[in-house]
Amino acid sequence: MTAQAAEARPAPSPGAAKSLVRVEQVVKHFPAGFGTSVKAVDGVSFEIREGETLGLVGESGCGKSTLARLVTQLLPVTSGKIFLGDVELTSLGGEKLRQQRRQLQMIFQDPFASLDPRMTVGDIIAEPLDNFGVLRGRKRNERVQELLRIVGLNPNFNNRYPHEFSGGQRQRIGVARALALNPKLVVCDEAISALDVSIQAQIVNLLEDLQQKFKLTYLFIAHDLSVVRHISDRVMVMYLGKIVEVADSAGTYTDPKHPYTKALLSAIPVPDPKIQRGRRLVELSGEIPSPIHPPSGCRFHTRCPIARVPTPCAEIEPPLEEKVRDHLAACHFSQDV
């Protein structure tokens, strides 16, 4: 049991890694009555590189969950395009889209609600296999047992029902189900948020191990920035339907280039009393605006500590552009952050 060499997480260098998913100017509006709409996702573009873990953080109402469902096409886009490899997902419908689901799997947040309580664990895990007629009979059962073993569960439990398991175990079942078809992309939508702290670490380790073993690509969505920083290669920060910053996980935290990111970082409590006492909270004024009527110009300007109003922050929406190599931010005054 030697000490593991603690190394910085090597970020896949841009350009070298292939782009697995490309999202171009995706917009999702939900009708809110009286002609208004909730602008849940309002013009978002990014790429997910093969083999990486892309973290997506934001507070409630930022649109990250909606974005997760758009990427997996569980929700149709209002406008914009999403590419999986060369296939334009947003142009597909019905059966063609369903076939693409073999490559896009999702792990859900609530371990108690994401498994059908009336199905056995074995059937739940095998459902992707059954839905596409991939394996049958003995081979199917063998695959189910193999998947159970891979996620660290006793393979003889395939006849049990979800309610017999704890939250962490159920989440493992969810992971097994997501892996059944060897998908290219696994979207983890708050996959650990509903678990106890000590169990979260188990699942995080499991996800990391599986990624290494099976060369998976993750889109990891969470509101807990500590976990996202730990598990991700790159991190995207969302605010009110738009991406405000994209950088590798080290850069996001050591050198944020958007005031919201900086405020978010200052708000995370660190489990170390001496350090925590010495930290200063960046106060954000006001409340999160309604996504039905987002502020003009830069959406964050109503709460931003360094905003210069009215020009340019209240009038001109800052584009998401590269500030330093592979570090994008949407702010007129990144240098002041």
């Binding site: 106890d196 188990q202 380790n205 708000a267 489990p271 999160i288």
Partner: protein, 350 residues
């Protein structure tokens, strides 16, 4: 050192379910001193919330406090009449809960509800009105005079929680018990609420019992910490001591399993293997032993009691981290598995 204002002694609270008796709180004792901030930290099933509810005798059916003393200024709440306890509730000891959405009555105006908290304890209506606005200002709700007439759904989550805090502080209680008050809130809002609580504690001298599962929250707000597991206290002490040099393997493992936003290098999280203990049939001996990396034979059979294992640090453990480091190589272990460090230490008395 001033006398403690609250002393909990040998508290046992149990729930009678159709599957058996759940020992939610099993022999818990601690003290709260005036003006301090005490954190009770634990995961689900640790008994932290039930402990808080027990203090105010608010345990819901089918639970009940079966034994123990709850001394508030040396008077035992367990022996008081329901009326007397009701007097204390809200006036001397107040409590705020996790979800302000369900704690506030949606059909009553916010100001009205805060007024009620004071009127119930003898204040006159006009006095209550004035103080409500003062309170809302104190909890930093902007435009308090107009907000007073709002309904809960018109306030954001953070503001609702501030209103709850205002209600809790309405009668200037000596103790404010906060049960996971920020868990349902966004991170930025959480930070503001915690800062508010810290300021209120300093300005008003109200002691705060903070119940949470978030070690970061405890580190920022509390001066003393109690760590609970499976209905029992496994470690307690000053916050610096507990975080820097935890003596109980559970505390140590918990701290090691939390990813830190300020981590410089990517270190693999050391998870606690296994699942939460079954409170119907808790493990024999030390309740943590099935998941403990440093267990010895004694841990299977004998239940440890809280002992001072380091200056001011009480832990319920036969081994303690000091020994685990010296003899079991705790710091070098990568994957923490139950029993990983033990094996050659059978039968040694601590």
């Amino acid at each position: 050192m001033a006398a403690p204002i609250l002393q909990v002694r040998n508290l046992r609270t149990q729930f009678s379910t159709q599957d058996g008796i759940v020992k939610a709180v099993d022999d818990v004792s601690f003290e709260l001193y005036p003006g301090e901030t005490l954190g009770i930290v634990g995961e689900s099933g640790s008994g932290k919330s039930v402990t808080a509810l027990s203090i105010l005798r608010l345990v819901p059916e089918p639970g009940r406090i079966v034994s123990g003393q709850i001394l508030f200024h040396n008077e035992d709440l367990m022996h008081m009449s329901d009326e007397d306890v009701r007097e204390i509730r809200g006036r001397d000891i107040a409590m705020i809960f996790q979800d302000p959405q369900s704690s506030l009555n949606p059909v009553l105006r916010v100001g009205f509800q805060i007024d009620e908290a004071m009127i119930a304890h003898g204040k006159s209506k006009p006095d209550a009105h004035v103080r409500t606005i003062e309170l809302l200002k104190r909890v930093r709700i902007p435009a308090a005079e107009t907000r007073v007439k709002d309904f809960p759904h018109q306030l954001s989550g953070g503001m609702r929680q501030r209103a709850m805090i205002a209600m809790g502080l309405a009668n200037a209680p000596q103790i404010l018990i906060a049960d996971e008050p920020t868990t349902a809130l966004d991170v930025t809002v959480q930070a503001q609420i915690l800062e508010l609580l810290g300021d209120l504690n300093r300005e008003l001298g109200t002691a705060i019992i903070m119940i949470t599962h978030n070690m970061g929250v405890v580190a920022g707000l509390c001066t003393r910490v109690i760590v609970m597991y499976a209905g029992q206290i496994v470690e307690q002490g000053p916050v610096d001591q507990i975080f820097e040099n935890p003596q109980h393997p559970y505390t140590w493992s918990l701290l090691k399993s939390i990813p830190r936003v300020d981590a410089v290098r990517h270190e693999r999280l050391r998870s606690i293997e296994g699942i939460a203990p079954d409170l119907l049939r808790p493990p024999s001996g030390c309740r943590f032993h099935p998941r403990c990396p440093f267990r010895i034979e004694k841990c299977y059979t004998d239940e440890p009691t809280l002992k001072e294992v380091a200056p001011d640090d009480l832990a319920a453990c036969w081994v303690t981290m000091d020994r685990a480091r010296k003899e079991m190589g705790a710091d070098e272990m990568v994957d923490i598995r139950p029993g990983a460090g033990s094996g050659v230490h059978k039968g040694r008395e601590s």
